[in-house]
């Protein structure tokens, strides 16, 4: 957390850069920074609130089942809507940590009740899965647009992704998952490369940037996870190269932007860099999970976002292990591929070391 001197120095610096036209509301900045210190700002506390929300939701569902209240779908759906709206009201009107934790619990319970209630309501007249997915998608979209809570926005992105995946899988449009991956990849790269523009565009976008980006990261990992675990939902996604090509393209573009921000001007160095990137990415075009995890890892590193970086790193380790495990080759051939890849990376390490030494000299 910053102190007053840091804020003064920052405001003074901006005023010098931007000139006399720079105007700011110091009282609001101070008030908000102070509120942030009271509200949920640390990752450990955010995780605590989400886990607490799920624990509270599970005991509450147990209560509903024990009390037999699940027999009334209208009551459940209505209570779900009331809890979703009530959570939002609480968070908006009570700007303190109490509201955040209670609000998140209400939010999770609200989604579950709404889904179960709507599902039971329509199961006899139409395809309940489709209706539930559509209702959940609508509720999540509304919360993404209007929620004032970071955690509720994050959860809403996950619910929206789950609903869209549900719609695709219920109707067996398995290859539609590529459209979802393309959308998630595009949003992630756009948000990562345009953070400054987005947070300056409006106060709403400013507060929603972090939760939406994190939600997209988790959604991308979940969707890519379904690509490699098709037996899990008995799906049949094909044409992996569609997502693979798109995600690889996003990665190359990201690395191009990174290179632009460095002092590297030598054409040979640039050509060697892009050739290495293509060599690494080409074999993974048919396994989009690998470039997808790499995209999360590198885009998060680019903007200095540690939680995203760790999610990307863990996802990459998992997907790379699965990639080699699933390769349709003998153990001997796999061994050859692994050693060759390892030596290629070690060679890259030696070359990079030499380059950095010569650059430092």
């Amino acid at each position: 957390m910053a102190n007053t001197n840091q804020l003064d120095a920052l405001l003074h610096g901006i005023a010098q850069e931007q000139g006399e036209g720079f105007t700011f509301d110091r009282a609001s900045i101070e008030q908000e920074a102070q509120q942030n210190s009271l509200r949920i700002s640390q990752l450990a506390v955010k995780v605590l609130v989400i886990l607490g929300g799920f624990l509270g939701a599970s005991t509450f569902l147990g209560f509903l089942v024990a009390a037999g209240l699940y027999n009334s779908p209208i009551a459940m759906a209505t209570l779900g809507i009331i809890l979703l709206a009530g959570a939002e009201w609480l968070i908006r009107n009570k700007k303190e940590s109490t509201a955040d934790s209670v609000g998140v619990s209400f939010n999770i319970i609200g989604y579950i009740l709404l889904a179960v209630g709507v599902g039971q309501l329509v199961e006899e007249v139409m395809d309940s899965g489709t209706v539930v997915a559509l209702v959940m998608a609508c509720a999540a979209t509304l919360l993404i647009l209007f929620s004032h809570s970071g955690i509720c926005t994050f959860l809403a992105v996950l619910v929206l992704n789950g609903s869209l995946l549900g719609l695709l899988f219920i109707h067996k449009i398995y290859n539609g998952a590529h459209a979802l991956i393309i959308l998630q990849g595009a949003i992630l790269i756009f948000m990562s490369l345009n953070e400054a523009k987005l947070i300056a565009a409006s106060a709403k976008l400013n507060t929603k940037y972090g939760p939406i980006r994190m939600g997209v990261i988790f959604s991308l990992v979940i969707t890519l996870g379904l690509f490699v675990h098709q037996k899990f939902l008995s799906s049949a996604i094909g044409y992996f190269w569609v997502s693979g090509l798109f995600l690889s393209g996003c990665l190359i573009y990201l690395l191009h932007r990174v290179l632009q921000n460095t002092d590297i001007t030598n054409i040979k160095t640039k050509a060697a860099f892009y050739t290495c990137c293509l060599l690494i990415l080409t074999p993974t075009v048919v396994a989009p999970s690998v470039p997808g995890a790499l995209l999360i890892l590198l885009s998060s590193f680019y903007i200095g976002h540690k939680p995203g970086f760790w999610v990307g790193l863990l996802a990459l380790a998992y997907f790379v292990i699965l990639y080699y495990y699933d390769l349709n080759l003998t153990l001997l051939a796999k061994s050859g591929v692994l050693v060759a890849s390892g030596l290629f990376f070690l060679g890259g390490f030696v070359l990079l070391n030499r380059y950095l030494k010569s650059y430092a000299n």
Binding site: M1, A2, Q6, I14, E17, Q18, F22, T23, F24, I29, E32, A33, Q34, N36, L38, R39, Q42, A44, V45, L48, V49, L51, G52, L55, T59, F60, G62, F63, S97, T98, S101, S105, E195, A196, I199, A200, N206, V258, N261, T262, F301, Y302, I303, G304, L331, L332, K334, S335, L338, V339, S341, G342, L343, F345, L346, G348, F349, L352, N353, L356
Partner: protein
């Protein structure tokens, strides 16, 4: 990724001013929020070294996992031993970066496992999987101590945990589920205690806290499950040791979290306590299900709310006005 200027402050100023995007972008870079060219250099070096070493060692494992019917057993064992001597010798004689030295030793540690596995495959000794992991763990202790490298410590602890679990499954089958969890807790909690003691004396870098975090979570999870399971099973399964260990840990970790001003311990430990508290409520009122489950819900929401409020207050006390 060392942040000098808090991202939250840049966001707060951007929200309540007409700061232009170009200025924000420049500040995100100059304030070390974004990765600099130097950060990218360090990251790529580590990434290439880590992936290169892991892929090569994995390739070697796959090579020996292949059913080499034509290869003489001495050639198989000789090849692995040659690789083992080569990597360990290289680590010993390496004059450059300490990281490379440690990565080489980590490679040697994995190769010891490959050697034991191939030995067991050739001679069909009839040994348990426990013996294999015990041998592997025992023979790499020295390297782990000498290297003092966090990834190597992590592998060592994973080996220790696996060895113990296999021991209780294949040799000491009289261990109850609770007793296994209690010992796993002691094992991992001891590792965290040693790490924190070394960190206090400046012997390990406190900048990379991923190691104690993961091991702490493993220890807390083990003792929390043990306490909850004991509630619903026979008290004689571990004679209440889980509660002595658990409550001892609660006190020590909360005290230590306050002392070093770390919200991790002060979030993870109370969550464990809330989970155990919820289980106690459910256990006590098994015959009044509806009432008890509603009470448990209120307890969870109320305690999490109180905890978050308290942590927010602490955070403000520790880190100033904002």
């Amino acid at each position: 990724m060392k942040n000098n200027l808090p991202r939250e402050l840049i966001y707060a100023v951007a929200r309540h001013s007409n700061w232009n995007p170009a200025g924000i972008d420049a500040r995100l870079r100059s304030g070390n929020v974004y990765a600099s060219a130097r950060n990218w250099g360090s990251f790529l070096r580590l990434f290439l070294l880590g992936t290169g070493a892991s892929f090569t060692v994995a390739g070697i494992i796959f090579f020996f996992a292949y059913n080499w019917a034509d290869m003489h057993k001495f050639v198989k064992l000789g090849l692995i031993e040659l690789l083992l001597v080569a990597t360990t010798g290289a680590a010993l004689l390496w004059k450059g970066s300490r990281t490379i030295k440690n990565v080489l030793l980590t490679g040697s540690t994995v190769l010891v496992g490959v050697l034991f596995a191939v030995f067991g495959q050739i001679y069909q000794t009839g040994a348990n999987a426990f013996d294999f992991f015990f041998g592997w763990t025992y023979f790499v202790v020295l390297w782990v101590l000498v290297a003092n490298f966090q990834p190597l410590w992590f592998i060592f602890l994973a080996l220790l945990n696996t060895t113990f679990i296999l021991y209780t499954q294949q040799v000491a089958t009289y261990f109850t589920f609770n007793a296994v969890l209690d010992v796993l807790f002691i094992l991992n909690a001891a590792a965290v205690l040693i790490w924190e003691a070394l960190a206090t004396r400046g012997k390990v870098s406190v900048q990379h806290r991923w190691f104690p975090r993961i091991i702490s979570l493993a220890a807390i999870t083990a003792i929390t499950i043990s306490m909850i399971v004991l509630l619903f099973s026979s008290f004689r399964d571990d004679n209440g040791i889980a509660y002595i260990l658990g409550f001892g840990m609660y006190g020590a970790a909360v005290w230590y979290g306050h002392r070093i001003k770390d919200l991790f311990y002060l979030s993870a430990i109370p969550f464990s306590a809330i989970s155990v508290g919820t289980a106690i409520i459910i256990r006590l009122g098994e015959h009044m299900e509806e009432f008890v489950l509603m009470l448990a819900t209120l307890f969870v929401i109320g305690s999490i709310t109180f905890l978050v409020q308290y942590l927010g207050k602490l955070n403000r006390e520790w880190h100033g006005k904002y």
